[in-house]
């Protein structure tokens, strides 16, 4: 279900964009206020709450011990789920994840997985028998646009905040829990195309008139680890190159924000 804006609001928004302006006065490639709080949820192995303007997302990690997949007997298992609960928006409904939640979970999951964020080989306890299972859960409380970046930053912060609960599972002595082995810092930057204008971090009203969306996830070496075009519009090739170029500076800044908040440098 797409949310609908009145004709007048739409025209106003289109006019603004055409003049290179935004509703809240931001620049085209500027984020809203970013607030990241890591470690707020005790029962989670790691957690982060990200506020991107009024968009409010919790990410929590839980770990369990289980069997590896037969084709990767020496690596841990990583699984990401997103819930777009009806608290967050009048358009969300109760029930199993729909296609929006599924796309969100899969896109940010690919950023983590393909970006080798977690060193899953270090999550093997006993080859072929016992590995760590890492659950990443995205819980959206307030949806005011750009869930992809809020969730992406939240996951990165929550992973950096995660302690492997080895003692609880009798895999280590008490107080010998250790930080989740992190290899890379990956964050996404999500661009929205409205008519011919491209802008970063669209808020809800901008999303409602957006033609297409492009998420680019980069690691600390400026390597692209995941991309996804969304919505029913198109991008031309040149614009995608431009987005990648812009993403380098943008991701560099958000990466710093995430790492600073968690205060963990030794990755």
């Amino acid at each position: 279900m797409k949310e609908i804006l009145s004709r007048i609001t739409k025209d106003y928004l289109y006019r603004l964009v055409k003049e290179g302006k935004r509703l809240d006065g931001r620049g085209m490639y500027e984020y809203r206020d970013i607030n990241i709080d890591a470690g707020e949820i005790d029962p989670a192995e790691g957690s982060a709450r990200v506020k991107l303007g009024d968009t409010d997302v919790y990410v929590g990690t839980k770990m369990d011990v289980g069997e590896p997949y037969p084709d990767t007997p020496d690596t841990g298992v990583l699984t990401t789920a997103a819930e777009l609960i009806p608290m967050a928006s009048p358009k969300y409904e109760s029930g199993p994840p729909g296609e929006d939640a599924t796309e969100l979970a899969r896109v940010v999951d690919r950023g983590v997985r393909e970006g080798d964020v977690v060193d899953t080989t270090k999550l093997c306890i006993e080859e072929g028998e016992k590995v760590w299972i890492l659950f990443i859960d995205i819980h959206v409380l307030d949806y005011d646009g750009n869930l992809f970046d809020a969730a992406g930053m939240g996951i990165m912060a929550a992973l950096l905040d995660t302690m492997v609960p080895a003692s609880r599972f009798d895999e280590a002595d008490e107080d010998e829990d250790y930080p989740l082995p992190i290899e890379h810092i990956v964050v996404p930057a999500t661009f929205t195309k409205i008519k011919d204008q491209i802008l970063l971090d669209s808020q809800l009203e901008e999303e409602k008139i957006a033609d297409a969306r492009l998420t680019v996830s980069l690691n600390e070496n400026d390597e692209i680890v995941a991309m996804q075009k969304g919505l029913r519009g198109v991008f031309d090739y040149e614009s995608t190159k431009e987005c990648i170029r812009k993403a380098k500076d943008i991701c560099s800044e958000t990466r710093d924000k995430v790492v600073d908040e968690v205060g963990r440098e030794n990755i």
Binding site: P43, Y58, K62, M87, P90, P97, D137
Partner: protein, 250 residues
């Protein structure tokens, strides 16, 4: 009550977290914290962290669930996957279905539902961190969120539990007390009319213990009621200040 293991819950006349028998854990409530919802409240109660949001009155879907003479109050209680030590699988389980039903029933009594026939007032309770007593947290936060949404109500509902540990009736069970205690008695209380809109018990209580526990809970609900009203007052005063500032700027 989960288990009968011998865990010491009372020492030197105090409970393991240092509380007196009739002492509540610390409660903080903030109203109006979400943008999209029509009303909302964030509550911390001991180590519990709970968000409540309200949408509506709005058109009821599916249609056959509409009531022709009044609005339906439809609560949904949900625990985040990471809110408990063992990951909670997403989606409703039998426990959350029952709690959702009880919260719906408890709130409907205080809402002037007859003002909104064929409508639904959706109440969402999300438990972000759970530590015993989440249904009371949810009901307490939900009634603040309803008020924050501007829904006409006859009163707020305050909710809290009492119970029994090591033979002693105590107020507001903590996590270990809940796991290893002997009885749990959560109530929902409407202060103005002095009525019970939620009442459950499980464990083992004599008639006398029931009365002792209820007396404690009702007193505590009156305290909680003050915290709820304070949260709403603070929200309104902030809004008033903001409006004033706006006027000055103009």
């Amino acid at each position: 009550m989960g288990s009968n293991k011998d865990i010491e819950l009372i020492k030197d006349g105090k409970r393991i977290d240092g509380r007196d028998f009739d002492e509540l854990r610390e409660i903080k409530i903030k109203a109006g914290v979400l943008k999209r919802a029509d009303g909302s409240a964030y509550l911390e109660w001991g180590k519990n962290k709970v968000m409540a949001a309200v949408y509506g009155p709005r058109e009821m879907h599916p249609r056959h669930a509409q009531e022709t003479t009044k609005a339906v109050v439809r609560a949904r209680y949900n625990m985040a996957a990471f809110s408990v030590p063992d990951r909670k699988r997403p989606g409703p389980d039998r426990r959350s279905i029952e709690i959702s039903k009880l919260i719906s029933e408890a709130l409907e009594k205080v809402v002037f539902t007859e003002k909104y026939p064929r409508s639904v007032i959706d109440v969402f309770v999300e438990v972000l961190q759970a530590s015993a007593g989440t249904r009371c947290c949810g009901l307490t936060a939900a009634s603040v969120a309803l008020a924050d949404a501007g829904i006409p109500m006859s009163d707020l509902v305050a909710s809290c539990a009492s119970g029994k540990i090591e033979g002693q009736v105590v107020l507001d069970l903590g996590k270990n007390e809940d796991n290893y205690g002997q009885a749990d008695l959560p109530i929902g209380y409407i202060p103005r009319s002095d009525e019970l809109c939620l009442l459950q018990m499980d464990g083992n209580l004599s008639e006398d213990e029931y009365e002792e526990a209820m007396d404690m809970s009702i007193e505590a609900c009156k305290e909680i009621y003050e915290i709820q009203k304070e949260a709403l007052r603070e929200k309104y005063s902030t809004e008033l200040q903001a409006e004033k500032l706006n006027e000055e700027e103009m």
